[in-house]
Amino acid sequence: MRIDKIENGIVIDHIKSGQAMELYKMLGLEKLDCQVAIIKNAESGKMGRKDIIKIDQMIDLNLDIIGYVDPEITVNIIRNGEREKVAHIELPDEVVDIIKCKNPRCITTTEQELPHVFKLTDKENRVYRCLYCESKAK
């Protein structure tokens, strides 16, 4: 299968196979007017199978979301058909309004307009906990 090269835009590569749709939704890519290609189960030397998202436009991406989903994902900026740079993704120390606290006893369930904040508490195991109730992010 062939997906055309993009001239100016972003390629999100090395997404774990099956995770592209989740990332697509979290990044709010459905709101874009430009062409967006989701390639599932592409062959990868390193990963066996991987997903790729190609966005045919320069946009501001929230790298914290990508870092939270998987810091191994790479973000390539393409300009004039050439890869200009690879954005370095890190596991963010804190994510705000990216995930919601699922604990029904958490204050976020009742307090209006309270941001949902999660802190990285265990880098090795990628554990995020709610700032307020300390429940583990699922």
Binding site: R105, C106, I107, T110, L131, Y132
Partner: protein
């Protein structure tokens, strides 16, 4: 330190300092009788409580201060749907310090971000209850004279008991502390506490279901209640409930200087026949709760 939301925000030195002040208050209460004159403590109890609210109020009165507040959400504007943030901003205009209990986990943290007045977490759901832990620590300090070199047994509901979790975290910072975790399988301490506190800090602990077998080695026994609603079936509850009720015969092989603590309220997990045993200190613990809260109020109000 401005607020007290979680016991682990306090350094060991800050805890030592507050315990020293509490002991000084016990030795010479008159010296402190007017320390908080003209200061107001607001007790905002969105959820009922007897001991915690009354001990905060008694603490403030004994410091010469005054108390305002409410003892249930129904008698506050929370019943009209007011947010915690708005309630706190309002109360912060009237009071010098606020002690707050709320059924939602994290509510005191939200409050502390909305006011310059010190906030004390007086319990947020099943999450934190730092002043109970301070109470437990003062009791251990007064009874044992040290925090190091202790074998601490925690018995009963170790899964849901917030006071157990905080006490383990707080005591894990001292040297040569060993925990004996006594509970039925259904109510063992959560995995994260085992991994993130005990194993990570290389702390010795054993898990057992047998209170009597564990008894001879204990310096401190912290009892909690095994609640019927925590079990999946009635048979398991009936089978296990008596194993975790402390009676005089279970204390036969206990050390003579054992200290028996309980955060209270007790239902039936300690037989009243144990109350007269000199090793039972749970009612002294209640009194210690008032003294340590006095020390905490002084610290947060920066009164010397």
């Amino acid at each position: 330190m401005k607020h007290l939301i979680d016991i682990m925000e306090l350094t060991v030195e800050e805890i030592d300092e507050m315990i020293a002040v509490a002991k000084d208050i016990i030795a010479d209460p008159d010296k402190y009788a007017e320390k908080c004159k003209r200061k107001k403590l607001a007790t905002l109890f969105f959820e009922p409580s007897t001991r915690t609210r009354l001990s905060f109020e008694a603490a403030m009165y004994e410091l010469g201060g005054n108390v305002i507040g409410f003892s249930e959400a129904q008698s506050s504007s929370a019943a009209k749907g007011e947010s915690v943030a708005d309630t706190i901003r309002t109360v912060g205009a009237y009071a010098d310090i606020i002690a707050m209990r709320h059924p939602k986990e994290g509510a005191p943290l939200v409050a502390s971000r909305k006011t310059i007045v010190p906030i004390i977490n007086a319990g947020d759901g099943g999450h934190n209850h730092p002043t109970q832990t301070l109470t437990d620590l003062l009791t251990i300090s007064r009874e044992k004279g040290r925090f190091n070199d202790l074998t601490i047994g925690l018995c009963g509901d170790l899964k849901f008991g917030r006071t157990v979790h905080s006490l383990i975290s707080a005591m894990s910072r001292y040297e040569n502390v060993k925990f004996v975790l006594i509970s039925p399988d259904e109510l063992k301490i959560p995995e994260y506490l085992k991994e993130e506190v005990l194993i990570k800090n290389n702390i010795e602990f054993v898990e057992t279901a047998d209170l009597e077998e564990a008894m001879p080695q204990l310096d401190v026994l912290y009892m909690t209640r095994v609640q019927r609603e925590r079990f999946f079936n009635e048979q398991d509850y009936l089978r296990l409930k008596d194993s975790y009720i402390l009676t005089p015969d279970k204390l036969v092989n206990a050390k003579e200087d054992l200290s028996i603590l309980h955060p209270l309220p007790r239902v039936n997990e300690i037989s009243t026949a144990v109350d007269d045993d000199p090793r039972a200190v749970y009612f002294e613990q209640v009194l210690n709760g008032k003294y340590i809260r006095m020390a905490l109020i002084l610290k947060l109000l920066e009164v010397k």
